[in-house]
């Protein structure tokens, strides 16, 4: 956890600061994407970067997601540390061959000889009224693929520390940013720090139930914990921060301690990240659990545009609160 009296940044600022610091530190770091330069991305996350580092290192691309991702794989193998920016997580569909059949496997297939130190930054999260092709949270796919690492920051502090580690990692790392969280403010110290990949964070300590939440759902879980506290239930909120490598131990220990767990993730509810997290806990804490591990994900439907429909598809503090209350045997 960050020290108490520090500067506040938005999530977007934290992301940019991480990239800027790493670009200053290492001349081989560069970034590719659609409208990343002058426009600073449509989300304005990278505003100012091209002014400092120039168009040689902050590179606007054509709308060729497969093309520039593949190019980044080759660049990573030959001396650069490219970051590719995929505007909406929904567009990773176009990069799957380059990420999964190439980036993820190069190191292994070459018997450990070539490395692919690249980062793909992309977004997840619904409720932006963007429709079914601009709202998905597809991180479960990459989490399924050996050879990739997958990062899901939930605070400005984590975003910065994890992204710096991702950029320095010698493997392909996919970094998912919740687009609804870009304006979230939080403490980010001025001094440099790194957060290692594969270490979960206890966002709130509790004793009655474990809420294991990722990315956008961490704030939801924290809000639910507040509601639970009002009725005397003490919830522990755990953020795995990376789905791979996965800090199984922290998840299991928490569930063993509280004897109840809910896992919450914004991906589609079926065959998603919640299934793995729940399985890890169910297996690891089996003899300590008072009830089944409950999974909460996005409704298993394409994400609808209409506000009342879209809002109904994603877990909220209230729905988490209700499920937790029931699991704790309160009516």
């Amino acid at each position: 956890m960050p020290p108490t009296e520090v500067r506040e940044l938005t999530f977007a600022q934290a992301v940019k600061e991480a990239i800027a610091e790493e670009m200053r530190r290492d001349a081989t770091v560069c970034i590719f994407g659609e409208d990343v330069a002058e426009a600073g991305t449509p989300f304005k996350v990278l505003s100012g970067l091209v002014e400092e580092f120039g168009t040689k290192r902050v590179i606007d691309t054509p709308i060729s997601e497969a093309g520039f991702t593949g190019l980044a794989v080759g660049a990573a193998m030959t001396g650069l540390r490219p970051i590719v920016d995929i505007m909406f997580g929904d567009f990773i569909t176009l990069t799957m061959d380059q990420m999964v059949n190439q980036a993820a496997k190069v190191h292994y297939m070459s018997g450990g000889k070539w490395n692919v130190p690249m980062v793909m930054r992309t977004t997840l999260g619904a409720t932006r009224r963007s429709g079914a092709q601009h709202s998905q949270s597809l991180h479960a796919w990459f989490s399924h693929v050996p050879g990739l690492k997958v990062v899901l920051p939930s605070t400005p502090y984590d975003a910065k520390g994890l992204l710096k580690s991702a950029i320095r990692d010698r493997n392909p790392v996919v970094f998912f940013e919740d687009k609804m969280m870009y304006k979230l403010r939080g403490p980010v110290p001025e001094e440099e720090y790194l957060i290692p990949l594969g270490v979960a964070d206890v966002k709130r300590v509790g004793s009655d139930i474990s809420l294991v939440a990722t990315s956008s759902m961490v704030q939801v879980a924290l809000a639910a914990a507040d509601l639970l506290q009002e009725i005397g239930i003490s919830a522990e909120v755990i953020d795995p921060r990376t789905t791979w490598p996965l800090d199984e131990k922290t998840l299991i220990e928490s569930a063993k301690k509280t004897s109840r767990a809910i896992v919450i993730d914004e991906g589609y509810g079926r065959y998603g990240v919640t299934a793995e997290l729940a399985s890890v806990i169910s297996e690891g804490a089996f003899y300590s659990l008072d009830g089944p591990v409950i999974r909460m994900g996005a409704m298993h439907v394409p994400i609808p545009f209409s506000p009342p429909l879209e809002d109904a598809t994603v877990p909220t503090d209230k729905t988490v609160f209700e499920v937790a209350r029931k699991l704790c045997g309160r009516s």
Partner: protein, 334 residues
């Protein structure tokens, strides 16, 4: 395999009814987009929208050359295509507002208007995402001998998607009745197309043996003329064609893109708005050629205004779907 660069100056003597129909449609699309902007700035519309204002002559000229049964696919900037193919204003607005009465029951939104009744296979929020769908519709038409043509609208940005070249190859190999309509409005979001597009656009089609032409996308009669010719050619089994339409979007990439000077100049915008406006210029021609007079056009404008007001009111008053509806329509019943 031919490439006709340079706009051919064809102004066939179109009949009055068609000319006024096209004028009405263009005026209607312009007014629709102005209304959308109003809804956005008054926070009455969820999300964002991409205005077609400035490009009206393309959608209207192309769709005027189609029958109702012919297919189209559209893009994120799709209102104009949908309206030109025959969509009704009230259900369009309702969809943009996420209402149950919308074309997609509110599930689609601005970027996903679809309508089997008018052959609209759907707008698409993935750049280049409908290239396969349109090509497949043309495949069906040929396989089932339906005589329909499929039209795929896309922007200059989609020229960078590899899928385009896979589909051009398939369409030419199988001589499918599909038209690829590239609307070059000079920008992909915030970047000039010349920064993202190497080589020559028409050659990218002719290299695959696909017939390609370009046209002044601000002149609805020219667009209509070349489209009629290419549609006819496709219907007769002549195979696919590629049409590059030179055009311009007046507004930002989306309704929220207000400060644009970092990627394009005010002078440029001014030039297109004043000298190349497809509606203004068409109006001038219609009057000069005595197809109608100022009063006649004024009448059209008034009726467009009235239609628009009625449609928006309908949409604003229409109910939202109830939340349970989110779980319907995931799978078609067998």
């Amino acid at each position: 395999m031919t490439a006709t660069t340079g706009t051919s100056k064809i102004h066939p003597a179109l009949d009055t009814k068609l000319l006024l129909h096209m004028y009405h449609q263009m005026a209607s699309i312009r007014a629709f987009e102005e209304q959308v902007n109003e809804l956005y700035t008054h926070a009455l519309m969820p999300g964002l929208a991409h205005s077609y204002a400035g490009q009206e002559a393309v959608a209207v000229g192309i769709c005027a050359a189609l029958t109702r049964d012919d297919y189209i696919t559209s893009t994120h900037r799709g209102h104009g295509h949908c309206l030109a193919k025959g969509a009704s204003l009230d259900r369009m607005f309702a969809e943009l507002l996420g209402k149950e009465a919308g074309y997609c029951k509110g599930k689609g939104g601005s970027m996903h208007i679809a309508d089997p009744d008018t052959g609209n296979l759907g707008a698409n929020a993935i750049v280049g995402g409908s290239l396969g769908i349109a090509t497949g519709a043309a495949f069906s038409s040929k396989y089932l001998d339906l005589g329909r043509v499929a039209v795929c609208f896309f922007g200059d940005g989609a020229l960078a998607q590899g899928l385009l070249y896979e589909e051009l190859n398939l369409a030419e190999l199988w001589k499918l009745p599909v038209l690829y309509i590239c609307e070059n409005n000079l920008y992909t979001e915030y970047t000039h197309y010349s920064e993202t597009t190497a080589g020559d656009i028409l050659h990218r089609a002719t290299a695959f043996g696909v017939h390609a032409e370009s046209v002044n996308g601000q002149n609805v009669r020219e667009v209509y003329a070349v489209a009629s010719r290419l549609v006819e050619r496709a219907r007769k089994g002549g195979g696919p064609a590629f049409l590059l339409c030179e055009t311009y979007r007046y507004g930002g990439h989306h309704v929220g893109d207000i400060n644009r000077t970092y990627y394009r100049s005010k002078q440029e915008e001014h030039l297109w708005l004043t000298e190349r406006d497809p509606i203004l210029n068409f109006a001038g021609q219609l009057i000069a050629e005595q197809v109608t007079d100022a009063a006649g056009l004024q009448e059209i404008e008034s009726s467009v205004k009235a239609e628009m007001a009625k449609a928006v009111e309908f949409a604003l008053n229409a109910p939202y779907p109830s939340p349970e509806k989110a779980e319907e329509d995931v799978y078609a019943a067998n």
